[in-house]
Symmetry: C3
Subunit: 342 residues, 3 copies
């Protein structure tokens, strides 16, 4: 299924092997010796291919699927079509992630510094790192083992990039340390000047931004996203955070572990996000507030105040989800009633 | 009018010639032999210059305009100032587009691969293509006839770029095929990893994103916009779509023909947009839904559910425009009434 | 405090010297001869360090601070902890900006054109300008005294960049003149094609965009922001404007002096912003309207109509702040009342 121009398939694997790779004590129902050649979406999969069912909405597709093998949760086993082999897992999506990664671990790249790249003499680049065409590593930067700097990527003066991290095409780091195994996608800008100045009709006056950006391990930062460096304190992105495309993170923001920030969301300066916050697409968090652990903010919503742990918030300004939907319903009803009276 | 440092004027043209170029059986009222040297905005145009009237709001400007020639719809002919020559067209804006293009077809560029560009030995680049300074064409990529890769642009491994397409400064393609005559503006990122992972407090686990981005013909993609590749299925952008700056298109999105997505709008993963959808600025479409052909979504609005064909929607969550404005008016009135009582 | 890998400290300075640097006739309370080695945030500062108090919210931090010196407004002098030396200023944040700039004026860069940069023979680059690794200066461009073009930055054909301006990593200019002392951050795209075309089911037809972008002096443009060139008229950014990251400015926008546009906000085509407008984060301004001087728009709000001078607006569509909060309160109360009845 995956286009061989772009993806190298490491299969086949036997169903038994894949069940082992799937983890979480997954078990096989059917032919454990079957050879599987590829992964494929449920609706497209055929002989020799493995797929997964994760969302109840797609049960009808599962029932009609021609996939040779499917990863499913225990409760859907009896909905499988005749002849389909199953890998039964309590976490089918996670199991699929592992299986797909076995087939497609990522294309190997030739280590070394490309002839067109520029690496300053005062920089340190691990021998097994990749520095792509027209990439730049400035003075005193340290680039760790297995790091990939994509075409045109830039590691600014003095910064550290931890082992296994990938910097995408044209992405740039400055005033910034990045941990291990991060993915920083194309065009992301980390460590640019925070938006700090004294406003006055006689002319706004810049306040030097003297902090850094400290990015933890296993962090993903999306394409063309921007993270400003701190004004004095640092901007901090905790281990395991997932940040999507076109996201803005202001100066001095502190983000805990495992936060998820979906595309086009923004976090204003000096906000604190505790662990496992979810900010859905196009949402926003005001500056100088604290978002408690586990808070989830709906798409296109904006938080203006500190939140309670595990809050579920919607709207502008965001309020508890239940309250929000009650207001929406009431508004609709009121408008209809009025209309009837007119 | 247009600054000669940036634009090469191919005029003059006679009014008769321009009427032919205008198309749609445009006719001349006045001096068909007049030589026209340039295009210019209605309020600034003078002798020898041609302008156009497209928006009823600007009729007073038209009445006072000193343009030598103006392209207008039939209903405004009698509002023209004395002595102005008219090109009468049922579609004055389209006629102006053609006329302006005749004057300014775009600056010619010297074909060839710039000395500072890097083109992999295993890539194919048409002899009449332009690969600009510090641009990169990676292994197995195919770059078609007349393609322009701007300074620092990157065509990733294995991708195809169709004839006449322009890739702007610093824009990058990966896991992606692009059709003919597209314009991909500066800093756009096409084919980056979709935002797919299994969430868990023990650590979010990436799901390999094994699809591509397939961009049709005559597509425009704005500066710093991002389009993620599919997770397994492809992300598809249909022929003739116009996408503005800073737009996010998630993985697996399928967009039909001629859709228009204005700046800072976003489409979440696995949404389907049928043909001729209009998403105004800063609007959003939720994931896994279908937007029916001809739907128009107002600026700063968000669609959460499937829509009916030709729907006109406003608000968050978006509702029919009529209903929305009724609610807004009611809310305002209620608040005023209450205030009076207090 | 500031990481010496990234920032060069030019201290120490005596308190007396710093009071002079602070400007606005700042005065010293305490030990004017004390040597100050660094700036530091109020909560972290210790011996030899100077901080500032600008926000009433942080008075308790001030009262417990161990900073050797603090810049404060007159009304907080008697809240200072024992032994702290004060620099008393009517504008403590502005004073701090000047003091911090004295400590950290910015790292000096070696003038000259990097060996990996490409400068067209027909371009003019001042001898004391810096053109970084893999940067590009195209034909007929003029780059002024002390300009810095960062790694991978691109100055397009024919454009002018005024003295002292810095173009960040990978930022690009085209069809554009930029004034003096501007900061254009990483990945910003100035002068790309405006989003102008005639819509039709037979195919949208591009209207040539024949204007420029004219950027004044002392303008800041944030990372990955986009400013389109005019369609015929120019797009204009007035002196002293501050534009944050991921902001979109459409074609033909005219922005007066000292406007502040916060992250992810957008201004649609042909809007006019007079002087000292503030558009908060993620807000939007519709096209073809005029925003009067001093208007302030709240975060996540959208203006659809012309405004009055010094208006304070909130919501979608934006209404006066007072009215907005009244509606929000009423809506909440109504929903609660109804709920009680049910």
């Amino acid at each position: 299924m995956a286009d061989p121009r772009f993806f190298d398939n490491q299969g086949p694997f036997s169903v038994a092997d894949l069940a082992g790779i799937a983890g979480d004590d997954a078990s096989v129902v059917g032919d454990a010796g079957l050879q599987v050649t590829d992964v494929s979406p449920l609706g497209e999969a055929g002989p020799g291919q493995i797929s997964f069912l994760d969302n109840r909405k797609y049960v009808p597709v599962f029932e009609g699927s021609r996939a040779a093998v499917c990863i499913v949760a225990p409760e859907f086993v009896d909905r499988a079509p005749d002849g389909m082999t199953l890998i039964v897992s309590p976490r089918p999506y996670r199991a699929y992630a592992r299986v797909a990664k076995a087939f497609y671990p990522g294309n190997a790249r030739q280590p070394g510094i490309h002839a067109t790249a520029f690496v300053d003499d005062a920089a340190e680049v691990a021998v097994d790192a990749v520095v792509g065409p027209n990439a730049v590593v400035e003075a005193d930067a340290r680039v760790g083992s297995g790091v990939v700097v994509g075409a045109g990527g830039v590691v600014g003066c003095g910064g550290m990039v931890g082992g296994g991290t990938e910097l995408g095409t044209g992405a740039s780091l400055t005033h910034c340390d990045v941990g291990a195994r991060c993915q920083i996608h194309a065009g992301a800008r980390i460590g640019t000047r925070g938006f700090g100045f004294d406003m006055s009709p006689e002319g706004h006056l810049d306040v030097p931004q003297l902090g850094r950006v400290i990015v933890g391990n296993d962090v993903e930062i999306g394409a063309n996203s921007t993270i400003d460096r701190g004004s004095g304190p640092d901007t901090e992105i905790g281990d395991g955070c997932k940040i999507d495309n076109l996201v803005q993170i202001g100066h001095n923001v502190r983000m805990g572990r495992g936060c998820v920030v979906v595309a086009q969301a923004g976090v204003a300066g000096s906000a604190t996000l505790q662990d496992y916050i979810l900010l859905a697409a196009q949402s926003g968090v005001a500056g100088h507030i604290t978002i408690a652990a586990g808070t989830q903010l709906a798409a296109r919503s904006g938080i203006m105040r500190d939140t309670q742990a595990d809050a579920r918030l919607v709207g502008n300004p965001a309020i508890p989800a239940k309250e929000y939907f009650r207001q929406i319903a009431m508004l609709s009803k009121l408008a209809k009633d009025r209309n009837r009276q007119d």
